[in-house]
């Protein structure tokens, strides 16, 4: 492809303007013990929860932000952030889709988002346009029948305190890292899932979540527990561009899989990446970790990361149970001035544990992307096995792609394999497509989708279709 053409294609703009409405019931910026007490009180939490938060806060005060990632951003002023804001009042929101930025609607159209969801996603006062209550109720009944608990973390703290207390912070301890400590102190929302022994969750926890996720906080906390022989597939985020006023996002996700349990956690992240100069985009500092606590348990992370100005995210698996399995499938796409430092950690502790890592990175524009992963085989993890494949595709000569895979192997019976490649779309591949009458943009899009196929096929069906469309939209003006 001629370089000017490529350059022209790479120049693209985000499909959505930023909406900044006036918030009400917001605490003034700043963080101290009283802010945390205020959050805890607003959430009607018991004393132990407040104590737990304060403990995290005191740990956080002693910590320093990590600087090892391949990322560049100005220091964050944590006292300039407002740590609690109540959901928007209906009268402050757009009253119908007509008031929503037409460009945003155009994107929804391209992504094939169902009509009734578009309103919710665009932040339209939901009750005014469609009845979400009935949908929600049907889901709730079905889940209730199966014995699955699925609610917000705040509700869970009030309604199922024993469960929350038993598991919260056992996978990601309060002082695990700087952002996890901050989250532990000030988290305001998130989800809680408990699937009882032997139950296969009757539905993918997705559609329901998508509707209700329109107002997720900036410090989300998610806790998913799968009891013995239980199964659940959980979908986080959505392909539609997310509007959010908060620049810093520091979520924590904890997964616990007991014996023979299987948790599949899929993420599609498409936060605002900032303007052409990278200004105003979301900082996404996420701690995600799964604990394969029981024998033969399995945790699978699948992620499609296309948004945010900065992504700092390493979904991990602690493979403690014998023969437990950890999986990580990732597609990360960066364009414009985006920076992503993402990957996974597979910690093999139990015997005959297995893990698979497939990471695909696509860097375009002036973006910078790094895969950072750790495979650790403990001395007792006899017969442990890991396979890692990470490939990077560079589009244009202004971007960067990096690979930092750490392997720490302390057992001679382990087998660990790592492969990585970095390349661009080959001219002969493009030529082959062009010779068959496929225009350049479609050809590039086709090749990129093929590059990501190993990961997309791990996504639940409806997400997979949207993810492909999302990839095209993200690289629009660049490739698709």
């Amino acid at each position: 492809m001629a370089s000017e053409e490529m350059e022209q294609l790479v120049r693209r703009e985000y499909k959505q303007g930023f909406v900044t409405d006036i918030e009400s019931d917001t605490v003034p910026p700043g963080l101290d013990e009283s802010t945390i007490a205020f959050i805890s009180q607003k959430k009607e939490e018991p004393q132990w929860m407040l104590d737990w938060r304060l403990e995290a806060y005191h740990q956080w005060l002693k910590m320093t932000p990590p600087s090892w990632a391949h990322l560049e951003y100005p220091p964050i002023d944590y006292q300039a952030i407002s740590y609690f804001s109540a959901p928007k009042k209906p009268e402050d929101r757009p009253q119908s889709l007509d008031e929503v930025d037409p460009k945003l609607l155009e994107t929804y159209e391209k992504l094939g988002i169902p009509l009734h969801e578009r309103a919710a996603l665009a932040g339209v006062a939901v009750d005014a346009v469609f009845d979400s209550v009935s949908v929600t109720t049907t889901f709730k009944e079905k889940l209730h029948e199966a014995g699955v608990i699925f609610c917000s973390i705040s509700e869970a703290i009030r309604e199922y305190p024993e469960l929350v207390r038993q598991y919260l912070g056992t996978v990601v301890p309060q002082a695990d890292n700087y952002f996890a400590a901050l989250n532990s102190a000030v988290f305001t929302d998130g989800s809680f899932v408990y699937v009882p022994e032997g139950v296969k969750c009757p539905m993918e926890l997705s559609t329901y979540f998508r509707i209700n996720a329109a107002n997720t906080g900036q410090f989300e906390r998610t806790l998913i527990i799968c009891d013995k022989q239980a199964q659940v597939s959980y979908l986080e985020g959505c392909t539609a561009p997310m509007r959010d006023e908060n620049q810093l996002h520091a979520a924590v996700v904890e997964l616990v899989a007991l014996e023979d349990a299987y948790i599949k956690y899929s993420t599609v992240q498409n936060w605002y990446p900032g303007d052409e100069e990278g200004k105003g985009g979301i900082y996404n500092f996420v701690t995600k970790r799964g604990d394969c606590r029981g024998d033969r348990s399995r945790i699978s992370w699948t992620q499609v990361e296309t948004g945010s100005a900065i992504t700092w995210k390493y979904p991990s698996c602690m493979l403690r149970g014998k023969e437990s399995i950890g999986e990580f499938y990732s597609v990360a796409v960066t364009n414009g001035r985006q920076q992503a430092d993402t990957g996974t950690k597979m910690i093999h502790i139990g015997e005959n544990t297995r893990s698979t890592i497939v990471a695909k990175g696509i860097a375009a524009g002036r973006s910078d992307q790094a895969y950072r992963g750790l495979v650790k085989i403990g001395p007792r993890a006899k017969g442990a096995r890991n396979y890692t494949q990470c490939d990077s595709l560079l589009i244009g000569d202004q971007c960067g792609a990096h690979t930092f895979p750490y392997q720490e192997i302390g057992n001679s019976t382990a087998t660990v394999e790592h492969e990585a490649t970095t390349s661009k779309i080959a001219d002969d591949q493009l030529f082959y497509c062009r010779a068959r009458g496929i225009d350049e943009e479609d050809a590039v899009s086709m090749i990129v989708n093929g590059f990501c196929k190993d990961v997309f096929q791990e996504l639940p069906m409806e997400f997979a279709v949207e993810a492909e469309a999302l990839l095209n939209v993200t690289l629009e003006g660049s490739v698709g």
Binding site: P379, D397, C399, H402, Q407, S412, T415
Partner: protein, 445 residues
Amino acid sequence: MSAPERFLERLTARRAEDPSWVAARRQAGAARFEAMGFPTRRDEEWKYTDVRRIAEGDFALATDAAFDTARFDEQRLDIDAYRLVLVDGVFSAELSRLDGLPAGVSLEPLSKAMATNHEAVGGSLGRLAGVDFSPFTALNTAFAEEGVIVRLAPGTVVDKPIYVLLLSRANERPVMSHPRVLIEAGARAEATIVEHYSGEPDAANFTNVVTEVLLDRGAIVDHYKLQEAALTDLHVASIHVDQGRDSRFNSYNLNLGGALVRTDLVTDINAEGAEAAYNGLFFVQGRQHVDNHTLVNHNAPRTFSNENYKGVLDDRSRGVFNGKVFVKKDAQQIEAYQNNANLLLSDRAEIDTKPELVIYADDVKCSHGATTGQLDEEAVYALRSRGIDEPMARALLTLAFVGEVMDKVRLNIIAERVERAVAGRLPDRFNLADLVETAEAIQEA
């Protein structure tokens, strides 16, 4: 007194009458070392290597180069070469063979070069290995008083290898040495240079060497680092290479000895058409710790690098491999390949490997692979089914594993020496000749 201060104290006691340009360098090195201090495991570059054994040590400086001649003959490589010998960092004129150097080749100890031709030495020395690279290069800059200067005039093809033997003695008090090696290859010059570390079996000294290699256009340098020091020796080395247009640098980093060995190998490929090949092998046992950090900087388009490092680890030994390939912006049409394979013979051995790619150009072909595992049981079975007992089968396969690197070694005497050492150090000690004989018998059958 802090560890850096304690080390530097020896400097002031020793060097009083340096020429001013040398004194200035020493001061810069000392100041930088004092500011940085010894690295800790909190430093990413030293994440897996703890240097407290060095920092807490009390090392004197050797004053003579006496060495037992019988042992010397046993330790040295029996090759026809120009030879320069340092004993605990002190030049030994007696053991060196510097006569008959062809025209265009200059090979002399650093002390002599500094005394007679300080301007030329001063210009290149430290150009590639600045005091900021690591606390150890700073420490070396502060202390370096002996070493080797190799200079090749343009077009000179050296007929014999240049053999630098660095011996470590079992002293009553451990000593430290900070040798400095400078190799300047003019345009189209060709040479093979061997740095060989060896010594007495109970030596427990600290060697901190810095090597700088400059290749002008079209130059070809084969550089060997053969580490066979005592299993109680502490060794830190950094090798810095600068490559001009169409030059070729082949590195052979072969590590068998040392209690704690850290080697940094950094190549800046600065002009089109240049190639670098890194071949590495480490075989460690007992509680040996070997850390190899390699970096290839592709600073110019159409440059090529190929790296293959293999490790065999037994007992409670620990290996570290950190290989990095860096492709600068606009350095297009790069090919860079990197491979690291490790064989663990014991459950208590540990390998920490990190093959990194940092790429800022799009028209590149870069790949890396890292594998760790045990011998292929099917291959063991296949050999056993041919009537070879299990220890022999495992020995043959281990030798085949290291063979992929050894096949690249062009100095036969070194390849054989390493293979013999590997065979002899396997859990069931083998004689290389027996193994070769068995292998040949299988091939014939």
